[in-house]
Symmetry: C2
Subunit: 95 residues, 2 copies
């Protein structure tokens, strides 16, 4: 899963909170199904930040979202005024 945050003129984004609190919350919700995650401050012009998580299966993702999705989405306002764009995919290579 990749999460993109658009850059707008009035975009706010707390990178410290995202890296030290929000993404660990997401990783914890995924449990052992989380095979790694990352976050980056975007330097190109269309986005303010990007996050990614390697998850072992869509079943793990769906189960975690069912149980913790509301809390995770509710936390977004604590670090940004932007709407995350979620991209899901089937990994063909990852190291």
């Amino acid at each position: 899963m990749t999460i993109l945050y658009p850059k707008t003129d009035d975009a706010t984004f707390d990178m410290d909170y995202y890296t030290s609190s929000h993404m660990p919350m997401l990783a914890k919700a995924l449990g052992d199904g989380c095979k790694g995650w990352g976050a980056a401050r975007v330097t190109t012009d269309k986005h303010v930040a990007i996050g990614w998580v390697m998850i072992d299966s869509m079943e793990t993702f769906n189960a975690a979202m069912g149980e913790h999705g509301a809390a995770i989405m509710g936390d977004v306002a604590n670090y940004t005024n932007q709407q995350p764009e979620v991209i899901l995919g089937e990994v063909t290579h990852g190291d």
Copy 2:
């Protein structure tokens, strides 16, 4: 670096070629500065594929693009008719 390929009605994308040939070409161009890479077939509706590379520095990226950028960009037509969107960022966490 994250690379997104938009999904259009006439989008073509050869995932096998991307995973087994194009991305290894990019990783090889980055040399020891490549700290890992991945590729995924996107299942959400706006993109057809996504790739990513962890690079040790922008200097590595710029040097590799200066030397191999034309060949790498020239290879894109071998697996897709889409224009890649390149997103660069400074990683705050990655595992």
